[in-house]
Amino acid sequence: MSTINLEKPELKAPRNQYGETLAALGAENPNIVVLDADLACSTQTQKFADKFPERFFNQGISEQDLINTAAGLSTTGKIPFCSTFALFAAGKGWDQIRNTVCYSGLNVKVCPTHSGLSLGEDGASHQSIEDIALMRVIPGMTVIVPSDAVETDRVIRWAAEYYGPVYVRLVRPNCPVIHDNATYQLDPAMPQKIRVEREGNDITLVATGETVYHALLAAERLQKDHGISAEVLNCLFIKPFDTQTLVASARKTGKVITVESHQIFGGLAGVVCEELSANHPTPVRRLGTQDRFGQSGTGDALFKEYGIDWEAIYNEALSWLKA
């Protein structure tokens, strides 16, 4: 159970943490190399570039080249981390990720930032709401969506140790830090284990990435306002997926709400519905973009407009339980 003050959390941007962790890893492991596609100042890979310029490669605005250059580097024993915005990595680089990186089983880490709606003002042309689905369907790909800066640090360190292709979906804005940096660790034997962030009996809120905070806030307020006991699951790993923990919670509550900054197809809702249908059929309600592109606006305004903020989760749970 989280001991973080959800009403007044500390804030930190996962992308900033990414840059800091990369710079720290660079000192620990000389095989780590970093590539970017002209967004090093945005993705924060510049932090690594400043310390290890000889191990940093700016490939310019060429995402296909970015991924394949990383692929080539990996064949010489390097551990490449490559970054740009999520839409450009997963979208423009998809065939390179699929055919060269994953099919060859190469040790490439694709770690884009600015995923989902919270990218904000740049609008739909830059907001990736399909990338989880695009990455999840590729055989052999690991897909990770950290919920805060603490998880970002741990999964980047984990990815550096793990051999194989990994996609880590990061975001732009300052986000609530919902985990204790001093004690948080991944289960080395089962890093994909879903974290039960809050236990409950009436309904299961399944979240990933930024929406974990919103689910926790909704759960706290549902308890306070209505005595509703909501369980909150944090799906850090979309693939491989921890079906067991999901099914155990669904068996207990009988009602599942998914919430993600992504299309309701193929991402978190996709994997949750697939696994529940096959293992323990349970009614699911899905919060995310409902087959609709994003738009310009602040991240907060977008989360509200597209129904994935704490209030939307709160209202969905309430209407379902009171029906």
């Binding site: 190399v33 490669f57 490939q59 080249d65 394949n68 080539g72 390179q96 060859s104």
Partner: protein, 314 residues
């Protein structure tokens, strides 16, 4: 099907003479690395042409035209130029080779069979279920193949990454990327052409199999590539243009690329003008033979031509 192996023995490989290497070569040349003379290379290529045809006929699927256009290049690259270890495909200091035109897989596989990296027993498994010899090269199944190819346009970027990685480790191995000309219609190729020059990756040699044909016909009609050497030159590459079936020209170009790697900070491209389907008269310069297997009658006619050409070299 008759056996190529018994009726047409493979020429014996010469082992390496250190003299054949660049003067700046600091690697220990692996024992048993084949260094063939031009007549030997010609015999090997003539023999591998038969194997390519056999494989594609047996599979009833594959790309004969694209394989026959590049087999002379492959044989020269692997058996007179590249440094690799017959006993250890993972040798860290090996020259790297990327078959970016992955649909030339039969030619690549035949070359790797000759190199000893693929057992000859697998020859008849091309494109069959559970085979190591996938329709396009899959690195996980093929010794000596570092990266899977098939989706065109990707090999040169991978080569740039390899060159950067080798440079970080102070390994001066060459990186050789064999591309198709039609493949150069892919945007990723030109991203990589920019990158290689930007990173001053002089150890990269790209070779374009310029056979002027792609699936839908003449490259100049589908989407004109025009004069390719000036395009690469404009991107700050060294360029060499040769007849891709002339062994002296191929070997001279590869040696020149080595010298340019030392004398300049630019990558080098060899535009190798070739004939699609080279060696089988009715396949030559026919786009229709890009990706089609011969029927039995065509196979026998083609094989008779290739066997006659092989025997003429004995």
């Amino acid at each position: 099907m008759s056996s190529t192996l018994e009726s047409h023995p493979i020429p014996q490989s010469e082992t390496t003479s250190p003299m054949s290497q660049s003067t700046t070569e600091s690697r220990t040349i692996p024992a048993g690395l084949p260094r063939l003379t031009t007549p030997e290379l010609q015999k090997v290529a003539a023999k591998l042409r038969i194997d390519i045809l056999d494989m594609i006929f047996e599979a009833q699927s594959g790309h004969p035209g694209s394989s026959l256009s590049c087999i002379d290049l492959l044989v020269n690259i692997w058996f007179s130029h590249m440094v690799w270890d017959p006993a250890n495909p993972e040798w860290k200091e090996r020259d790297r080779f990327i078959m970016s035109k992955g649909h030339g897989a039969p030619a690549y596989y035949a070359t790797l069979m000759q190199a000893g990296y693929i057992p000859w027993e697998e020859k008849n498994t091309l494109r069959k279920i559970n085979s190591n010899l996938q329709g396009h090269p899959a690195s996980k199944y093929i010794k000596g193949c570092d990266i899977s190819t098939g989706s065109l346009g990707q090999g040169l970027s991978c080569g740039v990454g390899m060159a950067l990685g080798l440079q970080l480790d102070n390994i001066s191995s060459r990186v050789i990327v064999l591309m198709g000309d039609g493949e150069c219609q892919e945007g990723n190729v030109w991203e990589a052409v920019l990158s290689a020059a930007h990173h001053k990756s002089s150890r990269i040699t790209a070779i374009v199999d310029r056979n002027h044909l792609q699936i839908d016909g003449d490259t100049e009609k589908v989407k004109a590539l025009g004069q390719m050497a000036p395009k690469f030159a404009a991107f700050n590459w060294n360029t060499i243009e040769i007849d891709g079936h002339d062994y002296q020209q191929i070997q001279d170009a590869l040696k020149q690329a080595d010298m340019l790697a030392e004398d300049t900070d630019r990558p080098t491209v060899i535009i190798a003008n070739t004939t699609k389907g080279k060696g089988v008269s009715f396949m030559e310069n026919q786009a229709g033979w890009h990706g089609k297997a011969p029927n039995k009658e065509q196979y026998e006619a083609a094989r008779a031509e290739l066997v006659a050409a092989y025997e003429a070299l004995q």
